[in-house]
Symmetry: C2
Subunit: 500 residues, 2 copies
C-alpha cells in the first residue's frame, strides 16, 4: 500500500519540477531577462507546460489517485495523503477537459501577451495590445466552457482563484462594500478635516528607498537566506517552495510610499509562503491556498500592519535617518495621516484602503462582461474610463494609467481581482479577532512582530493547501466570514482620521 | 519525408525547452536566488534532467534520426539536417550508456555540490567540500567508463569539451607552451624593465565600475535588448538562444581590472552566442561549438582586443572620467603596461597572458590525476600548493585562493580547463590572420569594432554547431591549427613590453 503513496509522491515531485521551472522562467522574464527575449521564453513554456499537462492527465493517474486514497488511511500522514489526492483531482477537473495542444498554446500565449502588454503599457498604446487581449479572453472563455459546459464561464474562473466563490456571492459582497464606502468617501470629501500631503511629491533617492525596503523585510521577519527582493515593472511574489520565495518591487523616484507599501504587501505574501509546513514541500499542497487567502495576508501586512500608527512609529527613525531633508518639518502623525489619506486616484496598487475596493469593482464588472461576451475588447478602454469617472470621479488621461495598468489580464488571469477585495475583508475580520489575544501596541513597542507571525502560522500559514479554503478562512478569521468586520473597520478608521 | 524532419525538429524543440529551463535555473541560482535554496533547485534539476534524458534516449529516437538523415538530401537545408542528426548522435553516444537514474542523480549532485563549494570557498574550508568532490570525481570516472570502456576516462571527458582532443595532443601542446613561457617569464623577472603598478591597489568605487562595464558592453557591440549583465561569485556566460544571452561579473572594490577584463572576457563569449544564425535556434546546433572555440572568442576579446593599446586608448577617456582621482598622474601607456604586466599570481581569472597557461597546466595535471585515480581528493590541496610553488613560485596562503578558487570541478566539469589554453592559442593564430585584412589601428581609431565582428561572424560565429570542430578551428584561424602563433605572439609582446 505504501507503494501507492510513493507513486503519488513521485508524480507530485515531477509536477513540482515543472512548476518550479515555469516559475523561475517567469520570475527571470519579469526581473532580469533582456527586453527582447520573450520568444525563447514562450517556446520553452509551451513545451514545459505541455509536459506537465501530459504528466498529470495521463490515464494512469486516476488509478494512482484511487490507490493512494485507499492506502491513505493506514498511512501515518493520512490527512495529508487524502488532501494531496483531493487537490490533484481538483486540478485534473480544471485541466483535463482542455485539449492538450490548446492548453500549451494558451500558456505560450500568456508569455507573448505579457511582453506585448509591457510594450503597450510603455507606449500607452491599447490598440497594440487589443489583439492579444482578444485571444486571451476568447481562450479562457473556451476553456471555461470545456471545464463546465453548463456553468457560467466567469464563475468557473472565479472558482479557480477562490474555491466556492460565485457571482452571486461577489455581487452581494461588493454591494455591501459599495453601500458603506460610497457615503464614507462622500463624507470625507465634503466634511473631512484636511490631511497634509505637500511633502509626498518630491525626490526620494532610490538608494534610500532600497535601504527602506531592507528595513521592512527585516521588520516583517523575512529571512534573507530564503527570500530575496528583486525589481520588476509590476510588483509580485512567487514562492518556489518553502525555502525559496521571491518578492519584487518597483521604485518610483518621486513616491516613497509606492515602494514602501509594495514591499509591505509582497512581504505579506512571502511570509505566508515561507511558513508553509516544509513537510508539504514538493507536493501539490505546498504554497499558500486560495488567492483570497493569499491576498488577505498581503493586504493585512500592507494596511492593517504597515499603515498602522504602531508600525509607522517603528519605521519613523529609519525614515528620518534615510530621508532627513525630505522629512524636515514633517511629524510622525502627519506621515501616518498622509499614508492613510482617502483620495480617489488612477492607480489601484497605490490606492488607499477606502477607495481600493472601488478599483476592484471596476475590474470585476469589466472582466465579467468580457468573459460573458457582453463587452468587446475594442470597447474596453471607454468602459474603463466611464467607470473611473462614475466610481472615482476621475478622468483617465491615458491607457497606461487606465486599462493597461495591471498585469493580470495579460497573463490570462480573469477572475483574480475579486480576491483582493475578499482578502482585504478576510484580513480585517482576522485582525478584529487577533486583537483579542495579541497586544499590538506592546508588539510594535517591542519592535518584533513574532507574536503576529506565530498566530498567523497557527491559524493559516503552516497548513498550505492541506485544508479546504472554507475551513482555512474560518480558522484565520476566528469564525464564519462576515464582511461587516471590514465595513466596520473602514468606517471607524476613516471617521477618526477625518473627524467625520 | 518532410514528416521525418518535422519529427526531428519537434524532438530538438523539446530538448531546447529542457535545456532552457535548466539554464535559467542555473543562472538564477548563481545570481539572485537566496543563499539557502539549493535543495529546491536540486530537486527540480533532477526531474528535468531525467525528463530530458528520457526524451533523447527513447528507443524510437534511433529510427527518427535514421529517417531524418535519409530525408535530408531532398530537403532545402540538407546540410543543417545532417548536422542536427550528427550532433544528436554525438550526444546520444555520451549519455545513453549512462543509466538514467545515475545520469539524473549526477545532475542533482552538481547542484548540491555547487552550493557546498560556494560555502566552502567563503570559509576557505576544503574539508567541507572534499566529500562532494569525491562523489563528483567518482561519478565522472564511472560515466567515462560507461561511455567508452576501453578508452582513457580523462580523454573521454576531454572529448566532450573539445571533440577530438586527446591527452597526447594536450601534453604536446602544453610542452610547447611551457618551453616558451618558462624562459620568457624568467627573463621578465631577471632583466625586464620595471612596470608601474602602484596605482592599481586603491578604492575603485563600484558605481564607476558598473558604468565601465556598460561602456565595454557598448564598445563590444552587445545589444542590451538581447544581452544583460548580472553579478555572481564566479563570472560566466550562458546563451539561452541567439536572442537571449546572459553574462555575469564580480565587482572587487580595490581592483578595477578584475571586472573590466571579466566583462571583456564574458562579452566575447556573448558575442559568439548572439551571432549564431537564428535559423539554428531551438535546434541542437544553436549556440557556440566546442569550449576551445568558445574560449578562443572570450580570450580574444579579453586579451587581444581588450588589452591592446588601441582598445585602452579607446577606453581611456571613459576611465579618466569615471576615476579622475584614481588615475591622477597615471598615463594611458602606464595603464596599458599595468594591464599587461606579467606577474605570477594566485588567481587564474586575474592572471596575465604570460602566466595564464601555467594556471591551466596545474589544473590539467591535477584533474587528470584525479580522474585516473592517481591522486586522492584528500591530497589535492597539497598537490595544488606544490604546483603553484613549482610553476609560479608562490606559496598559497589558503584554499579559497588555492584549490577552491574555480567553480568548474564543483559543477562536475573535469576536462574543461585545457579549453582555455587551447582557445587562447586559437585566438592568437586567428588574430595573426585577421591582421592581414583588418586595419586594427583604424578600427580602434574609429571606435567601432564592426569590422572584427563581421569577420568573426563570417569565419565562426554564425555557424553555431553546423560544422565539425576541426573545420571551424581552421576557418577561424585561416589554416591548420599551429600553437607556434601563440608562442610567437607571447614572445613578441613580452619582449617589447619588458625590453628583453
Amino acid at each position: 500500500m505504501q507503494d501507492a503513496i510513493a507513486a503519488l509522491r513521485s508524480l507530485e515531485h515531477k509536477n513540482y519540477a515543472y512548476r518550479y521551472a515555469q516559475s523561475v522562467i517567469n520570475f527571470d522574464g519579469e526581473t532580469v531577462a533582456p527586453a527582447d527575449s520573450a520568444e525563447g521564453r514562450a517556446e520553452a513554456i509551451e513545451v514545459l507546460s505541455r509536459a506537465q499537462f501530459d504528466l498529470l492527465t495521463d490515464p494512469s493517474v486516476d488509478q494512482l489517485l484511487a490507490d493512494a486514497d485507499a492506502a491513505a488511511d493506514s498511512a501515518p500522514d493520512a490527512e495529508q495523503v487524502h488532501a494531496e489526492v483531493r487537490e490533484l483531482r481538483r486540478m485534473l477537473r480544471q485541466i483535463r477537459p482542455i485539449p492538450a495542444d490548446e492548453y500549451a498554446a494558451y500558456e505560450r500565449l500568456t508569455q507573448e501577451a505579457l511582453s506585448a502588454w509591457a510594450r503597450a503599457k510603455k507606449a500607452s498604446d491599447f490598440a497594440s495590445f487589443a489583439p492579444w487581449l482578444e485571444k486571451l479572453v476568447e481562450g479562457r472563455r473556451r476553456q471555461a466552457a470545456q471545464i463546465a459546459p453548463d456553468k457560467d464561464p466567469y464563475e468557473t474562473l472565479l472558482d479557480q482563484y477562490e474555491p466556492g466563490l460565485t457571482i452571486e456571492k461577489c455581487d452581494k459582497f461588493f454591494d455591501t462594500l459599495r453601500a458603506a464606502i460610497v457615503p464614507l468617501l462622500e463624507a470625507v470629501k465634503t466634511r473631512g478635516s484636511a490631511i497634509r500631503t505637500d511633502f509626498l511629491d518630491q525626490e526620494w533617492p532610490v538608494s534610500g528607498q532600497r535601504a527602506l525596503s531592507q528595513k521592512v523585510m527585516e521588520l516583517w521577519g523575512l529571512d534573507p537566506s530564503h527570500c530575496v527582493l528583486a525589481e520588476s515593472e509590476h510588483p509580485f511574489t512567487d514562492g518556489f517552495y518553502s525555502k525559496d520565495v521571491r518578492i519584487t518591487t518597483h521604485y518610483m523616484p518621486r513616491d516613497v510610499l509606492s515602494n514602501l507599501y509594495s514591499v509591505a504587501h509582497e512581504g505579506g505574501h512571502a511570509l505566508y509562503e515561507l511558513h508553509v509546513d516544509p513537510r508539504l514541500d514538493y507536493t501539490i499542497l505546498s504554497g499558500g491556498a486560495s488567492m483570497g487567502l493569499h491576498e488577505s495576508q498581503s493586504r493585512l501586512f500592507e494596511n492593517l500592519v504597515g499603515r498602522s500608527r504602531g508600525c509607522i512609529r517603528l519605521l519613523w527613525p529609519t525614515l528620518k535617518q534615510l530621508f532627513p531633508s525630505q522629512l524636515e518639518g514633517v511629524t510622525e502623525e502627519e506621515l501616518y495621516r498622509a499614508a492613510n489619506r482617502a483620495e480617489p486616484g488612477l492607480i489601484r496598487t497605490e490606492a488607499d484602503e477606502l477607495t481600493y475596493c472601488l478599483h476592484i469593482m471596476v475590474r470585476y464588472e469589466l472582466e465579467k462582461a468580457l468573459i460573458h461576451g457582453e463587452l468587446a475588447v475594442a470597447d474596453l478602454p471607454a468602459a474603463w474610463n466611464a467607470r473611473y469617472k462614475e466610481y472615482l470621479g476621475l478622468d483617465v488621461p491615458d491607457d497606461a494609467r487606465g486599462v493597461l495598468q495591471d498585469i493580470h489580464w495579460s497573463q490570462g488571469n480573469f477572475g483574480y481581482f475579486p480576491s483582493y477585495a475578499l482578502g482585504s475583508a478576510y484580513g480585517a475580520q482576522a485582525m478584529a479577532d487577533l486583537e483579542k489575544t495579541i497586544d499590538f501596541d506592546a508588539m510594535y513597542a517591542a519592535g518584533d512582530l513574532a507574536p503576529l507571525r506565530q498566530e498567523l502560522t497557527r491559524r493559516l500559514w503552516h497548513y498550505g493547501n492541506l485544508k479546504e479554503t472554507g475551513w482555512l478562512v474560518e480558522s484565520l478569521c476566528g469564525g464564519p466570514f462576515d464582511p461587516q468586520y471590514y465595513v466596520d473597520y473602514l468606517t471607524s478608521k476613516y471617521t477618526e482620521l477625518y473627524n467625520l
